[in-house]
């Protein structure tokens, strides 16, 4: 009871702490804009561009247009500050001077931030559906939403864990944001570049490296899960979005993401358990 309570305490504390920082409010505003405006734009652009047969599935557009970039970046923004901001503000010292296990504090903070991320992911899915319903009428294949939620949640977990680790190692929130974002965008850019090089040269090594970059399975997994369950005619509206998957199978995507999550999470907790607790960093 008591350990679970302590973890719950730190998780709910982390949610409140992150919400108190204005960045979460900004993320929610962006989530709303990014999941309402595209539907409004599609609707206002005229229905001739979009076949009416696609209308019942148009709710996926918001998710696949926004998800890979915005959601993974949101995970980074939440995670990078979870530990580092406490060191910067000097608030970690007092909490950890209490008779609590560091591992409970770590777990609570990790879970709290991740639950907050899941809330934003849930809001994204809801707004995509609600906007699609508002502008295009009844939506179908909604049964895939829970699975899609889990796929996206798992994809972003790798970046969440990476940013959480960097926040703990660097203990400076601004640097943790910069390094995490740099890793994320570099992976995206390098992945695209390697894809092109592979197309030109046909050398497998480029493809292999591309597959194992973190953004490749993170982008592939939601698509690999959802697309087989959606009608093929959706490709008309999704032609603007890159729906090709760099990673060949869903299992491999899961495995790669799992490795990234475990490695970064393990480094973060090992360092946190071993290292001294810093005083306020100025």
């Amino acid at each position: 009871m008591s350990r679970a309570e302590v973890i719950y305490t730190f998780a709910s504390y982390e949610i409140k702490r992150a919400i108190a920082r204005k960045k979460v409010l900004a993320l929610i505003i962006f989530t709303i804009l990014l999941n309402v405006l595209p539907y409004y734009a599609l609707s206002a652009a005229g229905t001739t561009l979009i076949p009416t047969s696609v209308y019942p599935y148009i709710w996926v557009v918001g998710i696949f247009a926004v998800g890979p970039l915005f959601l993974n970046f949101t995970a980074i923004l939440i995670a990078a500050g979870a530990m580092s901001e406490e060191y910067e503000q000097g608030t970690a010292e007092l909490l950890l001077s209490k008779p609590v296990r560091r591992s409970d504090y770590f777990t609570g903070k990790f879970l709290g931030g991740y639950i907050l991320f899941l809330s934003i992911l849930g809001l994204t899915l809801f707004l995509s559906f609600a906007s699609a319903f508002t502008f295009f009428g009844t939506q179908n294949s909604l049964y895939i939403i829970p699975g899609l939620f889990l796929a996206q949640a798992f994809s972003s977990l790798a970046f969440y864990s990476l940013a959480f680790m960097l926040g703990e190692l660097i203990r400076r929130s601004s640097l943790a944001y910069i390094f995490s974002s740099a890793a994320f965008f570099s992976s995206y850019i390098i992945s695209a570049f390697l894809g092109i090089v592979y197309e030109i040269t046909g050398k497998e090594i480029y493809k292999t490296v591309e597959i194992y970059l973190p953004t490749s399975p993170a982008s592939s997994l939601p698509i690999q899960y959802a697309f087989p369950k959606l009608p093929s005619r959706l490709s008309t509206v999704l032609r603007f979005i890159n729906t090709s998957t760099a990673v060949p199978t869903i299992n491999l995507s899961i495995e790669i993401l799992l490795v990234y999550t475990i490695i970064t999470g393990a480094i973060a907790i090992a360092y946190f358990l071993y290292a001294d607790i810093s005083r306020k960093l100025s």
Partner: protein, 333 residues
């Protein structure tokens, strides 16, 4: 010069044995040897950067020793953090408390963090503590909007949650108004008296330490110079005593007579209060083994002068502290 520290025994709450913390870049604290027994109220004295806070952070398991050992309630505070610190609470100097919470929410967070047993009504305890520290009126005010003194009160309040048996206080009186200082002095005394609690209090306010603490530990460059009862510190560190007297003006003959007392090494008139027609004299006695106040008062009374007060010198702990630091490598206090 190194004075013997209190010997370790089974009632030791805090024990540092040759504890060294090496921060690198030539910044090394220790080796520190310090034992604090149950029921002691120890003033932890030392100049800025002497290692007081490092010792406290070692005790709290926030940082690891580079060598040596630290025990809290007989356990290593890093390896057995929860068990060792179960009944230990800490109030930091200039606390950084979550500004988005209000005092009630913060104490609630602490009580949940401590997983207080079900039979303890957390809300009642929090209200009692808020009342005790004088923050009930501000219990719903965001911490970010509280004054420095109020945050200091809250820092002490959070340390009292969960009925600890040992309090570690880092400059607890900083930012408090005089009434607050008097109030918390009593709170700490009550804590030590009622619950047979132990207090380790770091402070630069010597008068505070003198009035509250049963013993003091002096630290310099991470090494404990002395640990023992306050009067013992003064006796061991100072090779002299001070006697202060307030009299009607003394004749040169009386002053001459006083000077003839062999133990007196120096006499200074520190204040001439012409309005009251009195003189305040500070006499330095070359030894602190003999009380020469009866001799002094005899001479003054026999001379026909009026003796209003005669007492041992004030701020003796401060003098002892400065003296101890001077002796230690000619250190500046």
């Amino acid at each position: 010069m190194m004075w013997e520290t209190t010997r370790a025994n089974s009632s030791a709450v805090i024990e540092l044995s040759g504890a060294i913390k090496d921060y690198g870049s030539n910044k090394k604290i220790g080796p520190a040897d310090l034992t604090i027994n149950k029921g002691e109220i120890v003033g932890f004295l030392g100049p800025n950067g002497s290692g007081k806070t490092t010792c406290i952070r070692l005790v709290l398991g926030l940082i690891k020793t580079s060598s040596g050992s630290v025990k809290v309630n007989g356990l290593d505070p890093i390896k057995h953090h929860v068990e060792a610190l179960k009944k230990v609470a800490y109030s930091p100097e200039l606390p950084n408390i979550q500004t988005f919470l209000n005092p009630k929410q913060f104490l609630n967070l602490v009580s949940h963090e401590l997983s207080l047993p079900e039979n303890i009504n957390r809300s009642d305890q929090i209200n009692q503590i808020l009342e005790l520290v004088g923050l009930q009126e501000y219990s719903e005010t965001k911490i970010g909007k509280l004054s420095k003194g109020m945050v200091q009160r809250l820092s002490i309040a959070q340390a009292l949650v969960g009925s600890p048996e040992t309090l570690i206080l880092d400059e607890p009186m900083i930012g408090l108004d005089p009434a607050g200082v008097a109030h918390f002095r009593q709170v700490f005394k009550d804590f030590a008296a009622q619950g047979k609690g132990t207090v380790l209090m770091s402070s630069h306010i010597m008068s505070e330490v003198e009035s509250l603490c049963t013993s003091v530990a002096m630290i310099h460059r991470g090494k404990i110079l002395f640990k023992g009862p306050v009067d013992e510190v003064e006796q061991k560190v100072l090779s002299y005593a001070i006697v202060q007297l307030e009299t009607s003006p003394l004749t040169p003959q009386t002053i001459q007579q006083l000077r003839k007392i062999p133990e007196i090494t120096q006499m200074n008139i520190v204040d001439n209060r012409q309005k009251e027609n009195t003189t305040v004299i500070e006499i330095t006695v070359g030894t602190n083994d003999i009380d020469i106040r009866p001799q002094i008062s005899d001479i003054i009374v026999k001379s026909g002068a009026k003796l209003f007060t005669i007492k041992s010198g004030e701020n003796m702990l401060e003098r002892a502290y400065i003296e101890a630091l001077k002796e230690k490598n000619g250190a500046k206090p």
